[in-house]
Symmetry: C3
Subunit: 343 residues, 3 copies
């Protein structure tokens, strides 16, 4: 891919400052930039870094100061950079057609244009929509329904009856629809609760690598449309995740909890069972959510508190040595002179 | 499945209150209930919720108050509900027979009635007991021993020499018997310690999805009978887990630690190496266990403390802003009037 | 394997104390030792335990006190024990040759002596170095480069273009090169950022089971030579891990963070994005690293602080009930007698 700065400016609807004939041959973050690359900066700090890196041009905001490099001025540098990434992305080399080594049940239904990679196993009753790509070594259980234009990367497991919407991406090693962790203690023995429910994943959901989403005991474990899930996340039985949520790596959500729309759980957050988290709530990394959280606010800590309150508590905690000193000084002052002499 | 309330009452040994001819067509938790479903309630709070849901009948405790719905009165609503779930559970569609696409060593021993799914690889010396089902795409290493009536779901890996008891269930993507994390630092280089031991899993153990259980350096990493392990749990080399334990999702246990019988570790708990946890200890979510814990108690926090003590500390911590204010007020009061005027 | 103590002493360059004809038939940790085993002790405490265990001989430091058992005196008991483990390790039963059931692209390049197990899928352009062993059911994507003498255990996924050095070991279920978690919010929708970069893993790296290492957005996610990674670790896009690091189980490192050489992150540590951790820093279990950490020091806590400082804060925190009492006593003392009578 080679493109002149002029051509790139036209594609991005950008105002060009500098040599229009500059050849752009790649796209990069500032830290890995080489000559020929275009990078982006959305703050003065990154503009300074961009100026010193070997990149050949920088995408910047409309009224960014000029630097010693060609600039592409746009309304949203981040959005323009995304367009450039897509422009330079090589066409994906997905598997094509049905591999002769895939084991596809005669009772599975594959729409036109479905690709099934080598070594896959597709069970009876499975139904896969148009344009969906199944990479090698995936397992698609009985009666699983997969929408259109989905991508299952290698080693994905979809257990019996799971349903995925359209344009869902599942990264390698993820498991959807395994039994939840449910036992009833009878005479000191843990007896397994049968899991009759399933998992339903909406449209445009992306699921990272080695994620686990358990089926419901009865009813449905649900992942709302547009939600994105990072690697190694655990979602227990009967959890309801709203639309447009972001669940960062290693988050764990216990049984029957409910997340509203656009909830963000940062890395390693744990959510207790039967908790409700309101629309747009943002929970900082490693927090522990044990009770309901109202929407539209930021939370932090274990137990999770309103974010600023937690920061204040942490600041006070770090001043504990000082507080102990102050109390000691007061006690000394209050002691009678006689005591003081003896102490 | 369709059954009259009368018939259901007989099967549960329940006292029926309401129309005996009511048709029950399903079973559900209260929140997903539809008409025709039976639900259960074991407290007044859930009884009120059950009354307002569309379910057709409710399983309740013997002297629960009457509501505007048919009731099935039993000694243990939870146990009765478990029976109903099993009644309504569809017969499982496990793989049957040995798939022609499975690669089974001529030197493996498969008992009668063993099922091996498509694409599985079973190595020499492996020994699989009667009635065990191996789902597609599993790997069973050399000399692995699997008892009777076990289920291995897809993509399970059992490394060389691992031993499973009877009625063990392993969910997709779990790995049993990989090398532990052991190095000896020699001249600044981490040299790998060979792992000559193995993993032994007792009877009636259930292991969630994407769990990792490492083999011992020498000797055995052991999972006691009746223990249940949730998704994404890590169990390091030489760990000894007693019988009937519950290890909730994302728990991590470092090398050589020992859990007694019926220990419960809630989600995301971390246990340091060479720690001993006594019988029946319960550790709350996200706690960090760095030292030995006596049995029969509840623990919480990082470091894990006696549960009530930790709650008290957390309550005091949340009152730190107030304490700082109080100390400041005392200091102000103790200052001489002259100082006060100048300050 | 049977060897006299005399012969073992010669191989270890050890000073033998006791019956030279003693037969050694195994190697063990003290807790699992049986008759015929050799164990090691590098402190008095373990020497006492070794004395009481059934082992037939103990490897000890040069001037260790004599006990009621044959001793092998060496400069480094730990290093000598490692040699014994290697001596007693059975030769590994790796797959050999190219399995007829593996699906290897005609456009993949496999050097001499490469083994590819049953059911593997190797895509076009993949390049595998001499002596490397690929266990069954692995997926090696397009243009992946694997060095010499590597081991990929079952169910490993290497996505397109990933590069591994020499002598790299990857345990079952690990995923290298899946897309990172990157979205740009456009009109309230999370739009996926294409990931054009890759992952580069140095020489002598060992990667545990069910680990996830994401490819870079642009550029490279890098794992330095000699680094060892435990089970269930998450490494996000564009992270740079230096040489000789140890990342213990369930660690998570967010995007673009950089670890220097010989950094140790203990179990369940979380590292925020764009953080730099200096050479030789050691971070204790469950800590949360939100800002840069200087090298050569120990850290603990969430947020991670200098280790001793965190221990001191934790000690003060555990004394909070006492501090509240003391402040209350002071307030009582300061109250006027009249107030006291009324209160």
């Amino acid at each position: 891919m080679r493109i002149t700065l002029q051509e790139l400016a036209q594609r991005l609807n950008a105002q060009l400052e500098g040599d229009a004939k500059t050849l752009i041959t790649g796209v990069s973050s500032i830290e890995f930039a080489q000559g020929g690359d275009v990078v982006f900066a959305e703050s003065l700090r990154f503009l300074r870094l961009a100026e010193r890196c070997p990149a050949s041009a920088v995408i910047v905001w409309r009224d960014a100061p000029s630097i010693n490099k060609p600039l592409l001025r746009v309304d949203s540098p981040r959005e323009a950079f995304l367009k450039v990434l897509e422009l330079f992305a090589p066409p994906p080399h997905h598997p094509q057609g049905i591999s002769p080594s895939a084991i596809v049940s005669a009772d599975a239904y594959l729409a036109e244009g479905v690709a099934v990679g080598a070594g896959c196993v597709i069970e009876a009753g499975a139904c896969i929509g148009r344009g969906t790509v199944v990479y090698p070594l995936c397992y698609v259980g009985r009666d699983v329904q997969i929408g259109e234009d989905c991508i299952l990367y290698p080693h994905v497991t979809l257990m019996q009856g799971v349903r995925l919407g359209n344009r869902v991406i599942v990264h390698p090693g993820s498991v959807i629809g395994s039994d939840g962790f449910g036992y009833v203690c009878v005479n000191g023995e843990h007896r397994k609760v049968p899991h009759l429910g399933t998992v339903e994943v909406g449209d445009d959901v992306e699921i990272g690598a080695n994620v686990c989403i358990d089926r419901a005991k009865t009813g449905v474990t649900r992942i709302g449309s547009g939600t994105k899930i990072d690697n190694l996340v655990h979602i227990a039985h009967n959890v309801q995740v709203g639309e447009g949520c972001l669940l960062i790596a290693q988050v764990g959500i216990a049984g029957s909890s409910r997340l509203g729309r656009s909830v963000v759980l940062a890395g390693q957050v744990g959510v207790s069972h039967r908790v409700t988290i309101g629309d747009g709530a943002v929970v900082a990394a490693q927090s522990g959510v044990a009770g309901n959280l109202a929407g539209g606010q930021r939370y932090f800590g274990s137990p999770a508190r309103e974010h600023m309150k937690q920061l204040r508590l942490m600041a006070y905690t770090s001043r504990l040595p000082e507080l102990f000193e102050r109390v000691k000084a007061i006690e000394r002052q209050l002691r009678s002179p006689g005591e003081e002499e003896n102490g």
